[in-house]
């Protein structure tokens, strides 16, 4: 199933619009769409969140923590020593066929793989934020494995940013059970939900800002049509203390050297605001969740 096409006139319309800083939906170049956030929707998951752009992309993330054995590739002692004391994160991004026709059948495989690899690289590296040492139960043997499953339910452009935002929210919402280790190395999991605790370092989890180069300018939070008009995409991952946690150019097309730096700057500053807003929303969510759970699409 081929992705949808764009007509020359549409293309021209978008490029001009971007040039005089007015986009089809009335936004400026660097304006985001309104984000609706819900957390703690999935009872079977340790943490979950759902982000929805006003009539656009919709991403659901479920986080599950399970006990698994620590894997070490024994090539390099020094490295192995570090790995032995660490938990693991396993990411998986899936574009559901309900999101867009082009994801039907095997259509989504490539994009799934691409996104999964990207997210996995960012979260598993030192820049991921999560404190992996805390996830270790018995050094060299058992640890918590954090499974992060992102599910794209609706496709309105700018998936990547929303995925990262949602993941961050989901991790904020995640609780890891307390474990007690007995003499015979039997791991006892406390079922008292009260003493389950947050994953340490969730607030350092980066989010991504994707800048789409259209014509000679760049915009954020592109819609489907705008993405079709995009020459090259640049995703910049930023974390709370304004460090760059990853840069990746996506799609064909090239970026001028001068423009690149400019894009990085914008990406970083925008990322800061995003994280700030997100944290505010998460706080609100917590208060709501304390009172009652809201079902899916309650706020859609």
């Amino acid at each position: 199933m081929p992705s949808s096409l764009i007509s020359p006139s549409e293309l021209d319309y978008i490029i001009r619009g971007v040039d005089d800083n007015l986009r089809a939906d009335g936004r400026g170049r660097l304006d985001y769409r309104e984000v609706i956030l819900e957390t703690g929707l999935i009872s079977q998951a340790n943490g979950s969140a759902r982000c929805r752009l006003s009539k656009g992309t919709d991403v659901l993330v479920g986080v599950k923590v399970e006990i698994g054995s620590i894997e070490i590739d024994g090539t390099d002692e020094e490295v192995a020593a570090i790995e032995a004391k660490r938990g693991r994160i396993v990411c998986n991004v899936e574009c559901s066929p309900i999101a867009s026709q082009q994801f039907a059948g095997r259509g989504a495989d490539d994009i799934n793989n691409e996104l999964t690899q990207l997210v996995d690289r960012v979260l598993n590296g030192p820049q991921g934020g999560l404190n992996l040492e805390k996830l270790c139960i018995i050094p060299g043997e058992e640890c918590w494995i954090v499974y992060i499953d992102a599910l794209v339910l609706d496709y309105g452009g700018n998936i990547l940013d929303i995925i990262f935002t949602t993941i961050r929210a989901a991790l904020h919402n995640t609780r890891v059970p307390k474990t007690v280790i007995e003499e015979d190395k039997e791991v006892e999991i406390s079922d008292d939900v009260e003493e389950w605790e947050r994953i340490e370092g969730w607030e350092l989890v980066p989010i991504s800002v994707t800048l789409n180069k259209i014509g000679t300018r760049h915009i954020v939070d592109a819609t489907v049509l705008e993405e079709l008009a995009t020459k090259a995409k640049l995703s910049v991952m930023v974390n709370k203390n304004s460090k760059i946690c990853g840069i990746q150019k996506i799609g064909g097309g090239s970026i001028e050297h001068s423009l690149l730096n400019e894009m990085l700057q914008t990406g970083r500053s925008l990322g800061q605001n995003l994280i700030h807003n997100l944290d505010k929303m998460l706080q609100k969510e917590e208060e709501i969740n304390a009172k009652r759970k809201i079902g899916f699409f309650a706020s859609a």
Binding site: M1, I42, S43, Q44, A45, S48, K55, G56, D58, L60, G62, V63, K64, E66, N92, E94, S96, P97, I98, A99, S100, Q101, A104, G105, R106, Y147, D149, L151, L153, D154, Y155, G156, G295, F296, F297, A300
Partner: protein, 242 residues
């Protein structure tokens, strides 16, 4: 869970339902932007999204039907939908079976003869699973098809029932059960699936109960979609002529 505990002393079930009580239904039509029609439905802890594309040109030339539209159903299960995480392969056998069941249910109901040589795709995404896969799939699909404005003879509403120690129970979860898909107006049954051993005499009451359940679901779906349409009309012309 062992069968004794299924029903408490006051005839209440673990989730506090009475034997003949449905799970809480919550549903919303047209929740997705890209699809032609979509719906979200929630029955207790089972949550499902449905999207419908089409009628549109058939993808594979080989599959084209010259007198009517081709219907395809695809079900996918979110990795976190079950209590233990497992990365379900796409085209998992069990899912394929259910998908074909859903397909067969809708083939006679959708007026496919109106769209020769075309294709209608139904995609179902289970977000959270707590029993009653087929029924929720069918109900979600019905709503999505209505939202897509695809002509159907009438609603299809599915419900399941089971039996525990001589008491018939609506939406008996976890254990295999009898699922019925009902055409509420014409009172016809389009799908009847029994996944367990059941005494012939018991079949009648169980089926009755399932049908009753289906009727209730129908009432609910009907109400929802009517409200939705009225709402739309309201929006389209805020000042209707008095």
């Amino acid at each position: 869970m062992s069968r004794q505990e299924l029903i408490g002393p006051q005839g209440l079930r673990q989730d506090g339902r009475r034997a003949s009580e449905l799970r809480k239904i919550k549903c919303t039509p047209s929740v997705l932007s890209q699809s032609d029609g979509s719906s979200y439905i929630e029955q207790g802890n089972t949550k499902c999204l449905a999207a419908v594309y089409g009628p549109r040109e058939a993808r594979q030339k080989a599959q084209i039907l010259h007198n009517k539209a081709l219907i395809t159903v695809e079900i996918s299960l979110a990795p976190f939908s079950m209590s233990e995480r497992k990365k379900r392969k796409k085209f998992d056998k069990r899912l394929l079976e259910i998908a074909s069941a859903v397909k067969q249910t809708f083939e006679p109901i959708i007026m496919t003869n109106l769209f020769p040589r075309s294709q209608i795709d139904i995609f179902l995404q289970i977000l959270q699973y707590d029993g009653g896969m087929i029924q929720i799939c069918i109900n979600a699909a019905t709503l999505a098809l209505i939202d897509a404005g695809i002509p159907m003879l009438e609603y299809v509403c599915a419900c399941s029932a089971g039996i525990v120690e001589d008491t018939t129970i609506l939406e008996l979860l976890g254990t295999p059960e009898l699922t019925v898909a009902l055409l509420p107006q014409s009172q016809k049954v389009t799908l009847l699936q029994l996944e367990t051993r059941l005494h012939v005499d018991k079949l009648e009451p169980v089926m009755k109960m399932a049908i009753e359940g289906a009727k209730d679901i129908y009432k609910h779906l009907d109400k929802i979609s009517r409200n939705y349409i009225e709402d739309l009309l309201q929006k389209s012309n805020p000042h209707p002529p008095i």
